[in-house]
Symmetry: C2
């Protein structure tokens, strides 16, 4: 042995406890039943709870499969009873004994194993445990930070185990579905080329190629299109994607998507295939049978009815356009808005005419925080309509608005005016806010909706140029292509989003498969020839050699599992999530690295 | 439309060809049979080949599912016949017509569709194609660089499609197997903490946390152990791993592994479960039934018999130790080696006593290139043993060596002396080299072998310290733990490697699950407390709260698929591989990025 190491090595004497030989389990902790009484069994697992009732020690032994009660009593084995005194919560043990019927009145009908217990005659402590920072129970009061730091303890909770088992099931169902339908699973690179939305790319410096970088994929979009050019016809993958952005509750730096692409198809083919997958997930994971097909709604209708491109249709409270009623109102806020091409629209809230000044002020603050100039309200009293701007709005106009909105006596009408998209989005947010306040959103309802006919482009006021609403490979609708030079903002895309209960769970499109049209769209997006060549050169190059018509979709897998599991946060369905600032509290990453490592990568921190 | 954009937009006139409406396929190109004759069909796909026989044009139309012959003739449709004149290889088309029996004598028995053709009455060109840089055929003469640059064309070749479809099948079989056996699929993070082998980590700078980095996993080792601590009992995942090192033929910067971990198990449990998975893969992917269980061999025996820790046992040529015969030889090269604890060993090559001086010089150069001092040979002539060092080695010694090696008249014996591991490794390489030269390796033979009883540690002469042979979490064998202070180099690990035809395809171990033993092994490896805390603090911390005994394995998925597909390079079973210098020739990554991006990451290239 090299002497220079000797000083670093503390003396280590293998103890009986280090050299564990133990009896392996014959059953899991969720397996034994009344029919097993009289047999012997060995179980392994964690001490879930421990009660010392004077002469007898009871523990619940826990593993992934369930819990079984173990009884340590002198009459079963005095030595084992004595050694059980050291047992504490979360100790790992192997225990053997006879399976016995629990005394009458002590059965636990909540546990599948509740009829029996194990009369312990052998015990090995496989590992001790310090007192955990929070108790391992189905629901916990521990803060999320503590839960994430001690994720290995948090994941012992039955809720988290259920979520991850559900996630496991969802993976298998999705893959089996696509496999059965002739899709080929192909892995696309994680170390890839930086994409146009490069600002949100995670970059990876190359050691061998000084000054050059890979990027982690925000999506395998270009590769799946390449696979169609390569003739794979039907592709799928459940794949990690990465986005370095500011995180919201339902976003993660790395997230998982179900990625699908098909050749020689139109929108209906992709939509139908997706519906089949979703239906199978709900049936096999939740035992819920969905009605197919899901309804479809144009983006325009979704915005004008629900104020959102992902409407929650589980409740009503529809938006109605009142622009024509107030087009020539004395109230200039309304009439000027209409003149400028904006919209005046409102929602009727049945039975809320008694809303207080205070409540209405709160709502005004809410819409102002979203950028509204103000909130106009109308209360439908029995004798008259009370209008918050009645000095300016005529009684006829108020009546007209009420008629448009179907407002009846006792109702409250809230009205927003402004630019089309902004005013409607604020009404959409107000609609959701009110539904939550009024507890109008039914549980256990699964409202699916396809939103279609999105605009191809949106004009960015900030950058003074068009951006792709979906992505630059989305095909315009055939009947709109003629507007490509005259009125590009009017062009609708062959895109479709799938919405579930107000959450977007999938989105896709039919792609452009012609080089000329792709170049044209790039130019609309202000992506010059040189930039296009640099960024997507290989895709444009591939299009030269016979690209088939193709289209696809990507599902947000984390979100879908979150909805299946009935959770509010995707972090509860991800084994090792990061915080909203992209940190892993368990392993403390990101972290500092050695200077030597940076030298090898030819980079320096500034 | 914003005027400032106008100048950037070239005038675009949607042509008939841009606005493609086309008939969707009724069948794939591999589907039609004699029984379909008389019906009509629409096919879509790529023009695989085209023959113009004066009045009639024949094409083979290709998609992922097969090829179908299409006939364009004036009598079927004169316009369509005329428009078929533009068709060239790799054009994408939709074609409709009547399914007809091919004229007698023109059937193609090699194609499942060879009985029929389509008499084209409708044709739409969905996309034209430039002449591809190489022809799309089963085997190609194109260089690998060209194939990788135009991967979308290379992937159209039937060989590559077959490989990726086989890979697809392998994914499904593996997941179905582990799912059926109660394993939970869990995704571990890609953005994780740097590991001890940090020198080979790909690093990812954090935008939010200035000067901090994530690392891409070389393996999810710590996370899967954490999952055992969390009680998941059985975990699997098919997962991307990353290693920034110099690449050999069978390595990639990003590679795929089947990752497995189990609780409350010993070596036999992991080995048996793995054998079941391998057997199912071979049966379902190749229709080959394997005999279980696979044989096991100690590392020592593998080295001393085959000169390798991953022996190819498809052929014989075993190594034999002759040290005792030459221990007191006058030939100091031998006797000194034995005195210093080294080994003198050889291989007998039957019937090669007529090897020429030239051939033997070539072999001497070969072993010298591997670091041997020289190569001693003996030719077994009918009248005598010719020994290349017969001036120093007595006839008795030569006879003794021959006896040890079972050498008979007509055989050639090659002998290497030196330090145990080095001499045996050189003999192992010589054995493989000779087997290849002599064409001794049978095809279609699947020789599986478990190599077990690896040493826990190896001493790095360079760094003057021990390194883990597997990884620092591998458990020592119980009966060897007592040597942990006295003779650590003698400790054997609870590790196992699965070898197929001389290639390591999986490796794993029973892990240390006790904090004290883990700390001890870290200290043997020269990983100090502070370093251990920094690098694996969270794992050691987790071990405080009740870690179960556990172990696992990781399979090299790419290599397994390579062997299943009968390929020599893993690049032929990866859709988008990188070159040996970790470049993607198709998309030209890694590439330079904008200074703005680096600024946001707070890094600079030096």
């Amino acid at each position: 042995m090299p002497t220079r190491l000797a000083s670093r090595i503390f003396v280590f004497r293998p103890s009986k406890e280090t050299l564990v030989t133990y009896k392996k389990r014959t059953h899991t902790c969720g397996e034994l039943r009344g029919t097993d009484i009289g047999k012997t069994a060995t179980l392994t697992g964690w001490v879930d709870s421990r009660r010392d009732l004077g002469g007898v020690i009871f523990i619940d032994l826990r593993d992934r499969y369930g819990k079984t009660q173990v009884v340590f009593a002198p009459q079963h084995n005095a030595d084992v009873h004595k050694s059980a005194e050291v047992l504490r919560s979360e100790f790992v043990i192997s225990v053997s004994g006879k399976i016995a019927r629990r005394p009458a009145g002590t059965e636990n009908p909540d546990l599948p194993t509740g009829e029996i217990d194990i009369e312990a005659t052998e015990l090995t402590v496989l590992n001790k445990a310090e007192t955990p920072p929070f108790q391992i129970e189905q629901e916990t009061q521990a803060s999320e930070d503590i839960r994430l730091k001690y994720r290995y303890l948090d994941l012992r909770r039955s809720n988290m185990q259920k979520n991850l088992l559900m996630r496991h099931k969802a993976y298998q169902v999705v893959r089996s579905y696509y496999d059965r339908n002739g899709f080929v699973e192909v892995e696309t690179p994680i170390l890839m080329k930086s994409t146009p939305e490069g600002a949100r790319d995670y970059l990876v410096p190359s050691r061998i190629h000084r000054g050059k970088f890979y990027a982690l994929p925000q999506s395998p979009q270009t590769y799946k299109q390449i696979l169609m050019v390569a003739g794979f016809d039907r592709y799928f993958q459940i794949v990690k994607c990465f986005r370095d952005e500011d995180f919201r509750a339902d976003r993660q730096a790395e997230f998982t998507q179900i990625d699908v692409e098909m050749s020689f198809v139109d929108e209906n083919d992709v939509i139908t295939m997706t519906e089949g997958c979703i239906a199978e997930m709900f049936e096999k994971v939740l035992d819920v049978k969905l009605n197919l097909h899901f309804p479809r709604m144009s983006y325009k209708e979704a915005m004008e009815t629900y104020g959102s491109d992902k409407p929650d249709t589980r409740f009503d409270l529809k938006i109605r356009d009142c622009s024509d009623v107030v087009a020539s109102s004395r109230f200039r806020v309304f009439s000027d808005t209409v003149k400028k091409g904006g919209i005046v629209a409102g929602i009727c809230f049945p039975g809320l005419s008694n809303y207080t000044r205070n409540q209405l002020d709160g709502l005004t603050d809410f819409v102002k925080s979203l950028g509204a100039g103000g909130l106009v309200y109308m209360k439908m009293h029995a004798d008259k309509i009370e209008n918050s701007v009645e000095k300016f709005v005529s009684a006829e106009e108020s009546a007209g608005i009420a008629a448009k909105l179907g407002a009846k006596i006792g109702d409250l009408v809230l009205i927003i005016s402004g630019a089309w998209q902004k005013a409607l989005s604020i009404l959409g947010a107000l609609r959701l806010e009110m539904a939550n306040r009024l507890n109008l959103i039914p549980l256990n309802k699964w409202n699916f909706l396809w939103v279609v006919d999105f605009p191809l482009l949106e004009f960015s006021e900030e950058e003074k140029r068009f951006a792709a609403v979906h992505h630059p490979f989305t095909s315009p609708k055939e009947e709109d292509v003629s507007m490509i030079d005259s009125d590009p903002s009017k062009i609708r895309a062959r895109a479709y989003d799938l919405v579930l209960n107000g959450t977007e769970i999938a989105g896709g499109s039919i792609r452009i498969h012609r080089k000329e049209l792709q170049s044209k769209v790039f130019s609309l997006l202000g992506i010059g020839d040189e930039e296009a060549r640099q960024k997507f050169g290989f895709l444009l190059e591939a299009f030269k050699y016979g690209a088939p018509p193709h289209g696809g979709i990507a599902y947000g897998f984390d979100r879908i599992v979150m909805l299946l599991a009935g959770e509010d946060s995707i972090r509860d369905v991800i084994a090792f999530p990061k915080t909203s600032s992209a940190m892993s509290l368990m392993d403390d990453s990101p972290s500092e690295v050695a200077k030597k490592q940076l030298d090898e990568l030819h980079i320096r921190i500034v």
